[in-house]
Symmetry: C2
Subunit: 327 residues, 2 copies
């Protein structure tokens, strides 16, 4: 298929998703023109996925597309922003230019984009011998509700959403380092179809002090908050939320740090001041966020070590601040 | 070098370029937070460059970075937007993670970004075996000054800036299909370091009916205007602006359509109503746009054929609407 027929058949329909009426010009010009809602700040995030690096070669078009958009929406969630629109740059090897792959790919984008009403407003399609996708997602946020990394304060309670480490566990199975048959389907779902915590991010605006999405591994991402805020953290290993599959893995392998150093969680880690704890508890009681929450520790004054562990098995200092390293 | 030391050493300084005070949060959080100027529309453009597809493997880091940002700024110019900020996603093969390549790469970005005062506000760095860059550039435009593709009207005069075809001519030499020694240095500059026509785009706002940047080849890009506006064009081949190197090439090869079907021009093609011609002439007399302008034809009512050529040598119907095809 030619570049322009791919755009017409598969991507232009994705421009019709959402009813925000903010797209003055979408796909089909040199650029998109967007109306900015009064009094809102623009949030811009961008992430690239490369085949063989971020997903196995045999991953379906649907899952590749879902994940590429999800990891970007997850960044918007971590900023407390409401998703508005996105662009897609796609470098396609020849095998991915056939109709069935592209249909599947577009379906993955459509299903996730429809959940949040975000239209595709532009992009670029080029050839390459390695499937590479870059999405840039855009959202709006009230000035007073921006979730930053550098605003954690001593005394804050530290929370995470969902279970930690299932993305990394799925990868262990995909790399044939652990028996895939021992994992529940939800573990693979975490890897292939993460759910961006948009509703949670919006609810945390004006309540949480600091937030980040966990994508490079829990410890590495928490460290980003700690360094930016110039604080340390006391974390209770025993309070870390692990799935049943993960608990079984830990029992079998004693690989206690996998869930905390592996990537691909796409959960939020956030800090709440004491004064907001009751308010937060009442919000999560009233509303369904589709995910559980876990209080795992506290922000403490900065010391040499970023994270101080309680109840941690086999503590290996060298690994305790390590996350996913690209190079 | 690790991902985070690359960001700290080479990319964070690029966030300090420009004095627009619109970046509330830049590099170093999950996303950038930007203040929107009142009454302006946001323009979003994005383009990917892949090594071996958009530039030869031996291209310097400086030139790769320059071109990647330039082609995006060129899209902003074609929308009539003032550049504001950009993001960069970089997929790096191992050989590009050494200091000397990255220093050179950052210098190319810095030099072009400084010209237009645009800060880098975020991005992503991943590994790949093929150097791939996606930039997304953002700008602001007055609602009444947006330059669209679909607004050409019968009777408009058609203009292009600069010379057409030099980028394609440089590529012929790089592919060893033509003797590089016969080309002036400016021809290679067009390929490696195109100058985005930002000032021209801003001046055309409210004056031009339609505009596009010529990136896939003159005919293909003009066709985008014609189809979107449901009109045709009469173009005088003899009025097309060619460099001396191009004229020599045409004499030697009789390859009359290379300059009109090759890509990489990054000049603007725009249409002006009769009523604005005098105004436009007086603007280009008073101000220096750093480029020449050429009136090459007129918009006519839509017929089956998009472009009707006058004074055209060796007209080959099959090629007359062909531009760069990726697949």
């Amino acid at each position: 298929m030619s570049e322009f027929s791919i755009i017409d058949e598969f991507f232009k329909p994705l421009g019709l998703i959402g009813h925000r009426h903010s797209t003055d010009i979408g796909i089909g010009d040199d650029g998109a023109v967007i109306s900015c809602p009064e009094g809102k700040k623009l949030v811009v995030v961008t992430d690239t996925l490369v085949e063989g690096v971020h997903f196995p070669l045999e991953t379906s078009g649907y899952d590749i597309a879902w994940k590429a958009l999800a990891v970007n929406l997850s960044d918007l969630a971590a900023m407390g922003a409401e998703p508005a629109f996105y662009t897609l740059c796609l470098s396609l090897p020849q095998r991915c230019t056939d109709k069935s792959f592209l249909m599947d790919f577009a379906a993955g984008l459509k299903d996730l984009a429809s959940k949040y009403g975000v239209p595709l407003v532009g992009g670029d399609t080029t050839k390459s011998d390695r499937l590479t996708l870059t999405i840039s997602a855009h959202g709006w946020v009230d000035d007073t509700k921006v979730l930053r990394r550098d605003a954690a304060q001593v005394g804050d309670k530290i929370y995470v959403s969902g279970n930690i480490g299932d993305g990394a566990l799925a990868l262990q199975a995909l790399l044939k380092k652990y028996d895939a048959a021992l994992l529940s389907a939800t573990v693979f779902d975490k890897f292939y179809r993460p759910e961006p915590r948009i509703k949670l991010g919006l609810a945390l605006g004006g309540i949480a002090h600091a937030a980040i999405d966990i994508s490079d591994g829990f410890i590495a991402d928490l460290e980003h908050i700690l360094q930016a805020s110039n604080v340390s953290a006391e974390i209770d290993y025993a309070a870390m939320p692990f799935s049943d599959s993960m608990k079984q893995y830990l029992q079998a392998t004693h690989d206690a740090w996998l869930p905390l150093t592996g990537g691909d969680d796409y959960e939020l880690c956030f800090t709440l001041p004491e004064s907001q704890l009751a308010g937060f508890e009442s919000v999560i009681e009233k509303e369904d966020f589709g995910v559980s929450f876990h209080s795992i520790g506290s922000i403490v004054p900065r010391t040499e070590r970023g994270v101080v562990w309680k109840n941690a098995p086999n503590l290996d200092e060298s690994i305790s601040t390590k996350g996913y390293e690209h190079f």
